[in-house]
Symmetry: C2
Subunit: 318 residues, 2 copies
């Protein structure tokens, strides 16, 4: 209840309401997630995390962005390259080069366009191909959702694909033969040139606006920001075409990008199993908000409106 | 072509590509809009604009946000109140009170919760009712789209409604009997307490993330930001619950909010008629990106992925 009441109270003063006796209210999506048993929280291996430390902000405050890398079967050539680049400390000293409102923040080598000045890539980079924007995928027969849940986030109507759903921890769309990870708020993808260039993974972006689903199958999605996206989404927008910064001074420096397994003292992160009963109830509650603030149930949601819950493992459970 | 080539070049160096002879490329959505005849650009009356001047930024730079108010039949009691509040200069000296990542930035009276300290509303405020979140709406028979256009942005499948579409200049969803303006990136809505409180219009928010469509029919949508949203979307996120700022120092002050008709020297603004041939082609190109960067056509789009093009009237046409 707490979050809902704060919302109500803070949106507009309504002090009398808090004193009314009310029937027990339906829980909010957040309250449902808070009650998940420990067994439903899935560990994210530190080697599946990419940790980006930006230069401190104007007040000297640290800015860390934590990204979860895409698991197989998706985008693995780029993910392998991202691991190689992080191990080589390749991004250290490079910069955020672009911030376009309601679209993406992008980082990499500011001199990447200039063959004479571009930073050399490390050894061991794999070739990439646009054929890997998708993966073979036969959607397995789905177990029915738990009793009382009528909304199934694993099989949603979708204007950009045959269907979309949240499966195995990720938002995925498919056309019955192939599937692909979709661009939602916070998704991380791979910048590229014109086809057939598929990008190496050295130039990355994060979505900071409404899901740009038209990029699906046109660019590799390699992960998602699970913490610290505000350090990207609040960056000043670039004033050049497509939100590129026009001067070096406008860019934000990258102090270091490392795999989570190479970062000392990194907290443990978990995501809520998308195959769990709690996730099914959470998704149903996102699509049909019965908590007290709401009046009309939407009766549905799009795949990007059901973000997979994430958390740092509380110290009490560590 | 320019924007696409810049995108490609800047994403990753591919200098050879620019020298290849290419077949004439399909235009991008932006290029289609640029070629619209003047007759398809619709004037926005200055009295239908709300101009918010924030306190200058840390470097002393002005921050202006221009909002287009919702036309009839939607949300008119709140829009009337917003005009009354602007005429009374009621917001001047108040503040941005909340910035929640991937959700909303909200402004109004920081003391609104405290009945003893809350700023009195001006005379002439109208009562509001949640019954006005929707309006009676019989979707008229639609003229067929122009030749060669197979995608119709006026009638889209939608997970949150019977259908959604871009009609008469706005993104609207309906259930065949009633219709309502939807929450997209940049939409402006009215904060409220618990039902049946429907908010007065004194507390407003703008969407700065993925469309929170679950708010549709639960809150009044009263307009949309047409210029300057970056001054809201880049504000530091609040660290309190729901992104509220925890101290007055964190808030951004509002210097003034006025109707456009009371702002000297305001440029003229226009939107592209959503009933125009150019809009139909633009929407089709959003759903099926044939410009050179893209490989796979999505074959569809959601209603918030087809923003209505806006512009300042160029001086040469003024």
């Amino acid at each position: 209840m707490k979050a809902t009441l704060i919302l109500a109270a803070a949106l507009l003063a309504a002090p009398a309401l808090a004193q009314q006796a009310e029937a027990p209210a339906a829980p909010s999506p957040g309250e449902i997630v808070s009650a998940a048993p420990l067994s439903e929280w899935m560990a994210i291996a530190p080697e599946d995390l990419l940790v980006m430390d930006l230069a401190p902000d104007a007040r000297g405050k640290a800015r860390r962005v934590v990204i979860q890398l895409m698991p197989p079967p998706f985008s693995q050539p780029w993910v392998a390259n991202i691991r190689t680049l992080a191990k080589a400390q390749w991004w250290d000293g490079l910069a955020i080069v672009r911030s376009q409102d309601n679209y993406v923040v992008q980082w990499g080598d500011p001199d990447g366009e200039d063959a004479a000045k571009a930073k050399a890539l490390p050894k061991g980079m794999q070739p990439t191909s646009e054929s890997d924007y998708v993966a073979p995928w036969a959607v397995a027969a789905l177990a029915p959702p738990p009793a009382g849940v009528t909304f199934d986030a694993r099989a949603l109507p979708d204007p950009f694909a045959r269907q979309a759903g949240v499966h195995k921890g990720w938002a995925i769309a498919d056309n019955a033969l192939e599937a692909w990870p979709v661009h939602c708020y916070g998704s991380v993808g791979v910048g590229r040139g014109m086809s057939p260039d598929a990008g190496t993974g050295a130039e990355l972006y994060s979505v900071i606006g409404h899901a740009p689903r038209h990029l699906d199958r046109n660019i590799a999605v390699v992960g998602r920001v699970i913490e610290g996206i505000e350090h990207l989404s609040t960056l000043p927008r670039g004033t050049g075409p497509l939100g590129f910064y026009e001067t070096p001074e406008e860019r934000t420096g990258i102090a270091a990008i490392r795999l989570g397994s190479d970062v000392e003292g990194l907290p443990a992160y978990q995501y809520l199993s998308t195959e769990s009963d709690t996730f099914a109830r959470y998704a149903e509650a996102r699509a049909n908000r019965r908590d007290p603030f709401f009046i009309v149930l939407a009766g549905g949601a799009d795949v990007c409106n059901i973000p997979v819950p994430m958390r740092q493992v509380p110290a009490s459970e560590g």
